[in-house]
């Protein structure tokens, strides 16, 4: 086992631990914004995993999947932020009125 295969194995282990730890925050996160931030990090971890798989499988076409996932994660985070923002605005207005 040369250095490069060892590095790929180590990175898979590190990314798997990161995915589990981030999912713990998604589950226990006390409020909705906590979960959204944690899901954003989960998307980053999965992008890194797909890039690592593009190396280890020998098929660089998987890099396109990483690009698309980055786009979708950004749009999802923006959509969640708009939702949280508008819900907070509505609750504040109705609370004051």
């Amino acid at each position: 086992m040369d250095f490069f295969s060892l590095a790929i194995t180590i990175v898979y282990v590190l990314l798997s631990i990161s995915l589990l730890v981030s999912l713990i925050r998604v589950i226990i996160g006390p409020t909705l914004p906590d979960r959204v931030v944690a899901l954003d990090l989960v998307a980053f971890v999965v992008i890194s995993m797909i890039a690592t798989y593009a190396i280890s499988s020998g098929h660089p076409v998987y890099l396109d999947v990483a690009i698309v996932l980055a786009l979708i994660a950004f749009l999802g985070t923006i959509a969640f932020a708009r939702y949280v923002f508008q819900r907070a605005e509505r609750e504040r207005r109705s609370g004051h009125a």
Binding site: D2, F3, F4, S5, L6, A7, I8, T9, I10, V11, L14, L15, I17, S18, L19, V21, S22, I24, R25, T31, L32, P33, D34, V36, V37, A38, D40, L41, F44, V45, I47, S48, A51, T52, A54, I55, S56, S57, G58, P60, L63, D64, A66, I67, A70, L71, F74, T77, I78, F80, A81, R82, V84, F85, R87, A88, E89, R92, R93, A97
Partner: protein, 137 residues
């Protein structure tokens, strides 16, 4: 699982060593980001950990892809993904941070300054003309 075909000249060349170091560094930074998002006490601190360390980790791993396949198509795609992540991650963090502030978050007890509170209170006294406030009567 790791069915990568070996190079023709055999042995590890320089690019593979660079890519391996980049991979391990990137994985380490992603792990730092996820530990930060679990352990830090406050959503803004968690966001600070996940955005910066996560961006660096994913960028380093994508750079390792570019170093592994030293072809112009793969390099341009990897660099485009890195630039896209570098542009979108701060925007997403800023937006979700503002939304979380509006949502009403509990700060860490050691927080000393909250500039946004003064800003919002000043703005609420004199709202902009184009903001319609319904149900005021």
């Amino acid at each position: 699982m790791f069915s990568r075909e070996p190079k023709e000249n055999g042995g590890a060349d320089m690019l593979e060593i660079i890519a391996g170091i980049l991979l391990i560094t990137g994985g380490f930074f992603v792990l730092v980001a996820s530990v930060g998002i679990l352990r830090l006490p406050d959503i803004l601190m968690r966001m600070h950990a996940s955005t910066k360390a996560g961006t660096l980790g994913a960028g380093l791993i994508l750079l390792a892809v570019a170093f592994t396949y030293a072809e112009i198509g793969i390099i341009s795609r990897a660099v485009a993904t890195i630039i896209f992540i570098l542009m979108t991650a701060p925007v997403a963090a800023h937006t979700i941070g503002r939304a979380a502030y509006q949502h009403g978050i509990t700060f860490w007890e050691g927080t000393v300054v909250d500039d946004l509170k003064d800003y919002y209170e000043k703005n609420r006294k004199t709202p902009p003309a184009n903001v319609k406030v319904p149900d005021e009567d």
